[in-house]
């Protein structure tokens, strides 16, 4: 008992030290759990043949919620990639918005069903449209940050990519440019050790991508992606630096890919079983729940209530999206150019 008490005390100081209340913790937990539940439902729908394709963020949610929680949801920008489901939720996209994209429905706010699932966009929440070519988004983020700087808007731009994407020339060009002009941009690398099947040791000769930041004249930090508070702390400091005109920060979150690369992939072929079965001790959802319990913010009742709410929200989003029509073929020629 004594030890448990002690533990709680120490831990408690962690989120308080970061200026987070119990309600903040619960809200953050809700987003991690909601992202996971939506994601799992998407896989079920794909396996059931209701949708052709799914690509997943499972295992990345803690890092995304942690870092994004430190941003200003009115002002700041997100330039996402295809695993950014949790980040988009934090930015304000709703479960219905995301399911509309999965089902490629007419009302899909990301692309009106024009793009594959997980190619998020939402001008209402300053989430720039996602494309498939890996790496391009880093340059868009640098450009958005450059505009923010010269226009003096005080905006910060956050973008994210996998560790494989750091091998692209665009990644380097963006890092270099942002360093030269000390731009208000946060470069996140969600390092899950695989680029589809390619292990990180064939992707780069270094252990941490973060080591490269020094060569661009700004700090790079490594955080445990299963530790939501550590990710929040890293995000908070990166936002502070950006807002203060001190320039970019590279935040490398070590995460685990809890699924195959996508519904097209069978990872058993290249990933050893013991590597696939990620210990629950590094699942951000489990780890964060444990922390909330430790600090007495989460108990049985609350857990049941939250997850009950999430289940209802996910089901509502699914039914809502499924019921809506596909895009009207007549609209296929729309929006090639500005239509006024």
């Amino acid at each position: 008992m004594a030890t448990r008490e002690a533990k709680t005390k120490i831990s408690a100081t962690r989120h308080e030290a970061l200026g987070l209340s119990a309600d903040d913790l619960l809200a953050m937990y809700y987003h991690v759990a909601l992202a996971r539940a939506l994601d799992e439902r998407m896989w079920i729908l794909q396996r059931a043949g209701m949708v052709p394709f799914v690509i997943s963020g499972q295992g990345h949610e803690g890092a995304q919620v942690g870092v994004m929680w430190a941003t200003d949801r009115q002002r700041d920008w997100l330039v996402p990639f295809y695993r950014s489901l949790a980040a988009c939720l934090v930015r304000g996209m709703t479960p219905r918005d995301l399911m509309l994209g999965l089902f490629a429905r007419r009302d899909d706010p990301s692309s009106g069903g024009r793009q594959m699932p997980a190619h998020w966009a939402d001008p209402r929440h300053r989430i720039l449209s996602t494309s498939s070519p890996v790496g391009t988004q880093y340059l868009h983020a640098a450009g958005i940050a450059y505009a923010a700087k010269v226009r003096g808007t005080g905006e910060v731009c956050v973008t994210s990519i996998g560790e494989g994407g750091t091998s692209q020339g665009d990644w380097h060009e963006a890092m270099n440019f942002a360093g030269v002009h000390k731009l208000p941009v946060i470069f996140i690398v969600e390092n899950n050790r695989y680029a589809i099947s390619v292990p990180v040791k064939l992707q780069m000769a270094v252990k941490d991508v973060a080591d490269r930041a020094a060569g661009y004249g700004f700090p790079g930090v490594v955080v445990d992606g299963s530790d939501v508070l550590a990710c929040y702390a890293a995000g908070k400091e990166a936002v502070r630096r950006a807002r203060a005109g001190e320039g970019p920060t590279l935040v490398e979150c070590k995460v685990e890919r809890l699924t195959a690369h996508s519904s097209e992939d069978s990872q058993e072929k290249y990933r050893p079983t013991n590597d696939i079965e990620v210990p629950r001790s590094i699942d951000p959802l489990v780890v964060f729940k444990h922390y909330l319990e430790q600090v007495g913010v989460m108990d049985e009742a609350r857990y049941t209530e939250i997850h009950g709410r999430i289940k209802a929200v996910v089901t509502d989003a699914t039914d809502y999206a499924e019921a809506l029509p596909m895009a009207d073929p007549a609209t296929v020629t729309r929006h090639v150019f500005y239509e006024g």
């Binding site: 490629a104 069903g113 594959m116 390619v198 064939l202 992707q203 072929k269 596909m326 609209t331 296929v332």
Partner: protein, 329 residues
Amino acid sequence: MPEMRLLDAIRLAMYEEMKRDERVMVLGEDVGVKGGVFGATDGFYAEFGAARVLDTPLAESLIVGSAVGMAVNGLIPIAEIQFSDFIYPAFNQIVSEAARMRYRSNGAFGCPITIRAPYGGGIEVHGGLYHSQSVEAFFSHVPGLKVVTPYTPHDAKGLLKAAIRDPDPVLFLEHKRLYRSIRGEVPDEDYTVPIGKAAVRRQGTTLSIFAYGQMLHESLRAAEQVAGEAIDAEVIDLRTLRPLDVETILESVRKTSKAMIVYEDNRFMGFGAEVSAIIAEEAFEALDGPIVRIASLDVPAVPYADTLAAAFIPNAERIAAAARRLAAY
């Protein structure tokens, strides 16, 4: 003679070439243990090892640019671009470097590389804007580069072997919808199909349809649809887009005096434009009707939703309708 799918024939061609010549190697994203996202190099890693079956970092300019260096120094690289949509980061290395190495060095250096790229879209593909594109129009404009796209498994094996053995760079485009949908007999023995020759897939007298890839398939279906209406369409598989088999094209038009070109890419400045221009200049006297192009809409690539994808891409019905109009002209 064993029957196999287009995808199997492509794998077999690479396998036999790697067995035959140890300078031959493959490189690209996920070509190793995974055997490629479509399985074209399935089993290669175990058999030929990591050095010759190279999982590269995620960078297409690297894949092509390093292949240029490998080729200069005695290897024969087959570079896989995971989806043709992702070939653009390598555009500079292909156009400025691989395709010009021989010309700019006045013949001193060559660049024997093959670049394989799965392309094409449609309802079954569900690829959206970035996993569906046709890219042949860009690359068939490049002097120093050869561009090939097979339709039959027999051609796939023979043309890919020809590409690998070619002393100059060849872009080998594989339509994703044909990978598993097309089966055909493939000889066991070692053979090549010459780059630069078209194939008449259906003899006809009423009009000529020129196509390749999935649209050749749709054109053949269209030809059957109108056959009962006394429209006897000749259907020609261009196979090699550059160097183009102009002779076979003109011969057919001189016979039928009517020409249609069908392609899946966007219409404006698509490959059909060149075929049409060649006919309009070199077979004008023979022409007895407008040169018709059937192609996809001029919007940025294939949308994901089936409703939109169906509206974007031509199919046998649209081709048949156009054939009827042209025949009646």
